[in-house]
Symmetry: C3
Subunit: 322 residues, 3 copies
């Protein structure tokens, strides 16, 4: 499906939360991602739907991987891409978030990719600037392109995820990845299970429309896919878990544990992995079941789809305003 044939009037100015998307939006994004996914495997991966547009990656939190994925996505679509990392910038000089955002907005970017440690910061920036903002992770709230790439990788392998039983295990409490995935997998009709030690589960998880477990072996039973989350190093010393070793014993994903799942069940991890903490290295490396590298590859394609849809919409709006 080339650009000329592709028409979907994406009805959102920004991608801030999975909650804003309807099933058709998701379907069109995943279909378009599939187009770019195939192109990314060829030696002709430079195209120009975003030519003439400027994309700024505004990262208040250090994340080389996510930033690289967005940077490649934008460049392959022909945008001018600028990385603006705020640890080394004016915020250190006491500038407010609004001032930083408005200053960058005054440079006339068309797309703003924002990561911030405060939940809601991308929404705030979208309101303050009126720009097209993509949430690349905000606090413990959302990471919508991560959920979309997970859905892409799952769909490629499982087909329709509707009715599938999918388990998310680990530090749900602090995980924006889990929150975005619960929203998106629900929208796609999956049956979602969460599993975590009580200290790492949000108090309101029972109202998320999911099944909650504390025992991993119970949780895993009959699942079609298991997504395990990164255990941040700071949790290990924060009193949330007794030790890495204990954590692995009770919540580490292994081949043996996966035996209780459906035959052919898949394993996902948003990366970077702590081998031997939340996942056994041998399982992570088992290409039969592990989607971990497929997720990374899907990430670039999904971000291209998102940037392209928002970019084309921005282009239309800007032309209309003139």
């Amino acid at each position: 499906m080339g650009r000329a044939d592709f028409h979907y009037d994406f009805p959102h100015r920004s991608l801030l939360s999975i909650a804003d998307l309807n099933p058709l939006d998701v379907q069109m994004l995943l279909e378009r991602a599939s187009h770019w996914h195939a192109i990314n495997r060829t030696p002709d991966k430079k195209h120009d739907p975003l030519k003439g547009l400027t994309q700024i990656n505004l990262f208040f939190e250090n994340s080389t991987r996510t930033q690289a994925s967005f940077e490649l996505a934008g460049k392959r679509l022909g945008a001018d891409v600028l990385n603006f990392s705020v640890s080394a910038s004016s915020t250190a000089k006491g500038e407010t978030l609004a001032d930083t955002a408005r200053t960058l907005a005054a440079m006339n970017p068309d797309l703003l990719v924002v990561r911030h440690k405060a939940s809601g910061a991308p929404d705030f920036i979208a309101r303050e600037t009126g720009l097209s903002v993509i949430n690349a992770g905000d606090g413990t709230r959302e990471h919508p392109t991560q959920a979309l790439l997970d859905a892409f990788a799952l769909t490629e392998s499982l087909g329709d995820v509707g009715g599938r039983r999918i388990l998310i295990v680990g530090d749900i409490l602090h995980s924006r990845v889990a929150r975005s995935n619960v929203l998106l997998l629900s929208l796609l009709g999956a049956q979602i299970r969460l599993c975590a030690p009580p200290t790492l589960l949000p108090a309101d998880a029972d109202r998320w429309g999911v099944e909650v477990f504390h025992d991993l072996d119970d949780a895993i039973e009959g699942c079609d896919a298991v997504m395990t989350l990164r255990l941040q190093k700071e949790r290990m010393s924060g009193g949330y878990i007794p030790s890495e070793r204990e954590y692995f014993r009770f919540y580490g994903l292994t081949h043996r544990r996966m035996e209780a799942a459906q035959s052919g069940a898949l394993v996902l991890h948003p990366g970077p992995m702590n081998r031997g903490v939340e996942i056994d290295g041998a399982l992570a490396d088992d290409e039969e079941v592990s989607l971990i590298l497929d997720q990374v590859e899907a990430g670039v394609a999904v971000r291209m789809a998102v940037l392209e849809m928002l970019g084309e919409q921005t282009r239309r709006n800007t032309e209309r305003r003139r």
Copy 2:
């Protein structure tokens, strides 16, 4: 005015100081900036006057904002842009300034944007390398593109600044922004006032052809525009001022204070702002009077004009040399 119609043989190899410019140079730069300013508001802001040329941003001082402005300017004009930040590089390994500059020059850049904490470093680098150098701020000496963008923003709002009364208030002593603005505003025929506490005023300011004030309320009377300068955090603990609070009381710009100015008088600030120190937040955010975001927007356009004129001249010179 498209590229084909635009002809001005910019008579300078580098932009090191406002003192090198004549009124026609300034007029042509501002006119050309106006062309790019309009284009920057469209979704077709990628053009190719600098295609085939290499721009290196050589920053010895950390400045994400100014670097971003130059980077976007170069990319939108089709240059290959390289950021070379020296805090993390060979200077840490004991390399001399001349060796760093000559090494980069050996990579055949066509345009070198230089920021350095030592006054005169860009001139030195221009002499050592023979390259086209743009001074992006050197010590306490000059920041010519800042003055040009201020003039652009003022001209857009006031029309001709000739005969206008313009006040610069704050830490004049350490301010390259003030020095470049005094030179440029004088060239454009404005009547310039400076206002600062005696500790933050250069000893020779009375020979700059300006009116000097210590009392802000006196200084502001009848002005058409007031530019307030950032108070660097290190001044606050350096014995230059009693406290931030005292500074704001005597030198902070507020709506009330602006009442003494001309009706419709404008406010400028080079950013990043310390709200509540040199300027009241409500005044900074008042779109009727504040040009602060217009300055940022003008910055990209003015830098595009400068890069284009120097780049085209470099292109002609290089072709002639072959």
Copy 3:
């Protein structure tokens, strides 16, 4: 020689070690570098042999200069270039080298430029990912593009280096530059001499097919070129040498010392220099004998040749696989 006329089926998927190259490979690389070298001096240095390909510079060691050279090389050839610096990334979060490499590989780069403090890391990454890898310096082992650029600069000035007497002086023990140069200069038929204090000479240097000296004045006698190596600051406090001053006295390259060499003998240094330690500033700056800036210029051209040959091969392979 334009692109259309240039055909050499480079028989290597990666450039990991000079030891993998045969004389024809080297000849073709240097010839192609000569093409780009000429183009880099014009204002039309943007071309598109790598258009549609993605180059990732994966630097585990800080090296602004080498990274800048590879970045410019890739950009001038039309690649999308991404800098991925690992000090600030996931490795800090405990990710393994293999996981970092495989994650980046999943983003479908076509060319991976790798610098790492561990000898052999680029080979490991090439095996793990199956990608086209260029070794940009690994531990104390190899830095093949440095040797190629040295050969380019020498050949430009001396003509054929076959039979020429070339001395490498300094910290041979820790130098990947020396190892790659010994391999390449041997391949090209030069007579190689090494000179170092006994503490800075590898134990097996007598088996490298070179002449070994400890006295610089003896070593320099009759040489056509002398390459002096950077003395890393950490050696100075590591007990390898008595003091910088002593080192300069016995191993510092000066005009006076060069008098023993052939008339017109040349001086090389991989940079960045410690003036007054391994080389006298006046000698480094003597354009009659010093090739130091020619080396830097050659670096971009040689890297363009390497990236182009590997890139075109990757393009053919990827197309074949589809």
